[in-house]
Symmetry: C2
Subunit: 198 residues, 2 copies
Amino acid sequence: MPAKENLRPGGRSARVQASVHNAVRSLLKTMDRADVTIPLIAAEAGVTPSTIYRRWGELQELLADVAVERLRPDMLPIDTGSARGDLEVWTEQYCEEMSSGIGRDMMRDVLAAQDNANACKCDAFTREQIALIAERAHARGEAFPDIDAVMDGVVAPIIYRILFGDQPSIERVRDLVTDVLAREPIRQPQPASAPISG
Amino acid sequence: MPAKENLRPGGRSARVQASVHNAVRSLLKTMDRADVTIPLIAAEAGVTPSTIYRRWGELQELLADVAVERLRPDMLPIDTGSARGDLEVWTEQYCEEMSSGIGRDMMRDVLAAQDNANACKCDAFTREQIALIAERAHARGEAFPDIDAVMDGVVAPIIYRILFGDQPSIERVRDLVTDVLAREPIRQPQPASAPISG
DNA sequence: GCGCTAAAAGCAAATAATTTGCGTTAATGG
DNA sequence: CCATTAACGCAAATTATTTGCTTTTAGCGC
């Protein structure tokens, strides 16, 4: 597990990392992933191959490293005014991104790496987005299920189907959202700062 | 996608395939998977490396090929006398197998391959097992949810957690089974051969 | 700022993996 | 049993990976 943790954060080291990441992204745009090799990436990035080998160990780790950055959410979940609307819109967008060719490839890259830290990161990203939707729901006084319930009831089925060869339909995705919202009726967790009395 | 489809089924070709598969299984028992290479497998199997390269293309495909065979269920789901018992026992065993180090590795091998035919096979294996449980339930006159409902409600959350870094607990797994059985109350599909009238 | 220390990068030689051309073996079908 | 051809083995050519050593430079105490 040689990835980008505990590396020098500034200067040349950072430049090399950025250059390599850019090279990977650029190459993946124009070539089949099976044809992308470390020497090729090194040439594109203007570094020597041994730098990449020493830092990432193998292509799979580098691809996972690049993929997880691209899977990082770049915007807040859209505020539709209601918890149901928020979750529906977010879920549909998530599903679309993940089922696209590029999304599937990135997910595969993340899961294929020896080091599963990147997979954990992806899970954390998703949980954060759902937590934001949940917070908004609570602020509005709406009920909202546990994050785990949403992960199990909505995210997991979508990802499972994408990974194991079945494209989830938009109708199915809506049903998943409906089910998870119906299942957890009113139980609204109190904020941690609330006094003990009910 | 160069795997074992449309290859000569008999004689030397089959012997080579068996020998290579055995070599992989044997090597994975004693070494770290990162140290297993195609030349090493070839030596262990007593074939020349180019045979493996031409037949499987790359290590990932071969590993996926071996893994899917090991993921094939080797027994019928245990008959406990009730649908709930059958599904609970099967699910716990499935979860245990998949969360073990070897199970996780096999799943990763299957998902990491370019060719997702093996992943589809794994999904099919699981569905078959659940279908058997469902058939038994129907034969007893018990209600049982759709296969898809079980996949979404039980299998997907387990697999998602294993893949994305969270070990599912036995309690959580039981809850998943309880939920999916509670959700689909009585709707029992008629056998296809039933007459049209109700 | 100025030098010290060591992490990270570069370079090149050595090793290992992969591809490929061609001759040989043997499975399949008539 | 013979013809056909897929699959294999071998070895040479190519390409990828590892490794030892040198150079650069980020981070840090002064």
